[in-house]
């Protein structure tokens, strides 16, 4: 049941408890308990809203930043990751295999603001060896949702 609940609310966290119970063919109380348990266990970490900021009047830029760092003795990457993720403007921090170590996504009001963060805050951290900043120009698909175009039902309206 957990996997099913998660796959549904991952796409639609606003679904009602009763409806969730109905479509899964279980009792509402079981859904309530399961959700509470998963929240407590930290499996469900939050309920967010997907927003296409492009369609609003609010200016926002998103950047992906590749960071190479020197791992610290006894700490590995955890310490440096923590120093980075504590900045509220940092959206996500991933430890990555391959050519660099950390991948950061960052949101700012403008290119300038993001650049300033990278040069003032990120690059100056002692263990950071280098950074490479990529600005996102357009989001086609995010969290499994296609933003680029709207779905239209092109089927014949009645078929046997």
């Amino acid at each position: 049941m957990r996997e099913q609940i998660l796959s549904i609310i991952e796409r639609n966290s606003r679904i009602g408890l009763k409806e969730l119970a109905v479509i899964l063919g279980v009792e509402e109380i079981d859904v309530v308990n399961e959700l509470a348990a998963m929240e407590k266990e930290g499996i469900i970490c939050g309920y967010h809203t997907m927003i296409d900021w492009e369609k609003t009047a609010i200016e926002k830029v998103t950047a992906l930043i590749e960071v190479r760092v020197t791992p610290q003795r006894g700490q590995g990457f955890d310490n440096i990751a923590e120093r980075i993720y504590k900045y509220p403007e940092v959206n996500s921090v991933y430890l990555i295999s391959g050519g660099y170590d950390l991948l950061i996504t960052l949101e700012g009001k403008s290119l300038k603001e993001v650049s300033k963060f990278v040069s003032d805050k990120l690059s100056t951290l002692e263990t950071v060896l280098s950074t490479a900043t990529h600005f996102i120009l357009k989001k086609y698909k995010d969290h499994g949702t296609i933003l680029a175009k709207k779905y239209e039902d092109e089927r014949e309206k009645i078929t046997p």
Binding site: I8, L24, E156, K157
Partner: protein
């Protein structure tokens, strides 16, 4: 000028859906619950194989019976799901949809005047195809109290010494009814006792919600009497690719192949390459779509229960078949008024046979969001009809 037409064809009634289709098409903002095909796109990796086959210039005919690779995958699939072994070389034909398989099976098996048993409500093409094959269609009216399953007694009552074949349309369109192993064993007994053949249309085989589908061909003594028909349209959301298949005894398949060869040549090549990918790597897609259908099915049954609309629980396909007898109007009147007053299209049960009277088919090949809107309108409509009656 002489009459250019063949009476046999002229006498066939056009599909009952047609008339309705015309009204809906004129309505700009109508919501339809009348579609008999998946709302999902064909999974991308399958489409990609089709595209790749075009890029590679695979635009030739395949052998009449279909690509060897595909026939082998079909046989593997049937072996792993039903435990039946078919010879890909002599017992498998890839067809243009399940529909072609139904047509050529009837044409290959039936002599003029021989009878074919057709349980209804069921898909609209069995009866016309039987007529075109010079068979005499004998309708078996399935009953709501049996959850629209076929009973051995119903077969016995319809059998004469001219009966040659039984069409077995389960999981069923439009009722959503299924036949479980126990039900099929009873039917198989009668089939063997009366020396009949079965044309088993299992196009919805992957869409069952209370356990895996069982084919009648998997029962003892039945493989040699059954043409098993399936395809890619419903399970892999591939309706437009027009691809199905038939498996059966060599002696029948050889004759079916002749008709297929002369009438069709071969099924579309692009579709065949895509279908190989579907059978090799499509199981997870099918599972996900099945789960989505099942969620919608549960939602609809719950909504019907809430509004007090009588409906047996269907365990197959993507249709529910609620009873509308309480409103004292025919299925067609109900569907017509629902469309005009609430702009929602459902299909009258009578489109699938006279015994569909008193029922309408509602498809759940729509997203939950769309279903919710439509069901909200159904509730208003039902409430209004009840008030009118009171």
């Amino acid at each position: 000028m002489r009459n250019p037409l063949a009476e046999k064809v002229v006498d066939i009634r056009p599909s009952g859906i047609r008339k309705f289709f015309d009204i809906v098409s004129e309505m700009e903002d109508a919501i339809s619950l009348g579609v008999g095909e998946p709302d999902f796109d064909t999974p991308w990796h399958i489409r990609d194989e089709g595209i790749y086959s075009l890029e590679k210039g695979r635009t030739f005919y395949t052998s009449n019976a279909g690509l060897k690779e595909l026939k082998m995958e079909i046989c593997h699939y049937i072996k792993r799901t039903q435990g039946i072994e078919y010879d890909y070389n002599h017992e498998t034909i890839v067809t243009v949809g399940g529909s072609e398989a139904i047509d050529i099976a009837l044409r290959a098996m039936i002599n003029p005047g021989e009878e074919v048993l057709i349980p209804q409500p069921s898909y609209v093409s069995y009866e016309p195809c039987a007529i075109l094959a010079n068979a005499k269609p004998v309708i078996i009216e399935l009953k709501a109290e049996n959850e629209f399953r076929l009973t051995p007694q119903e077969v016995l009552d319809a059998v004469t010494d001219k009966t040659k074949a039984l069409i077995l349309p389960f999981p069923n369109n439009p009722t959503g009814a299924i036949m479980e192993k126990g039900d099929l064993e009873e039917i198989a007994k009668v089939v063997i006792e009366k020396d009949l053949f079965v044309i088993s249309d299992e196009i919805y085989a992957e869409l069952t919600y209370n356990g895996a589908h069982v084919s009648i061909a998997s029962l003892p003594g039945m493989q040699e009497r059954t043409i098993l028909i399936n395809g890619f349209s419903k399970s892999y959301a591939m309706t437009g690719w027009r691809l199905g298949y038939a498996c059966g005894p060599k002696i029948i398949m050889e004759q079916m192949l002749k008709i297929h060869q002369f009438a069709i040549m071969c099924a579309p090549t692009t579709s065949q390459y895509a279908a190989v990918e579907a059978l090799r790597n499509g199981e997870e897609d099918v599972r996900q779509m099945r789960e989505a259908y099942n969620q919608r099915r549960r939602y609809l049954l719950y909504a019907f229960q809430e509004m007090g609309l009588e409906c047996f629980e269907p365990f197959g396909a993507f249709y529910v078949f609620p009873c509308i007898k309480e409103f004292g109007m025919t299925s067609e009147e109900f569907a017509d008024r629902f469309l005009r007053e609430e702009k929602v299209a459902v299909v009258p049960g009578t489109a699938f046979g006279a015994c569909g009277e008193g029922f309408v088919r509602i498809s759940y090949a729509y997203s939950l969001e769309n279903l919710k809107v439509a069901i909200g309108k159904l509730k208003e409509f039902v409430d209004r009809l009840r008030k009118e009656k009171a």
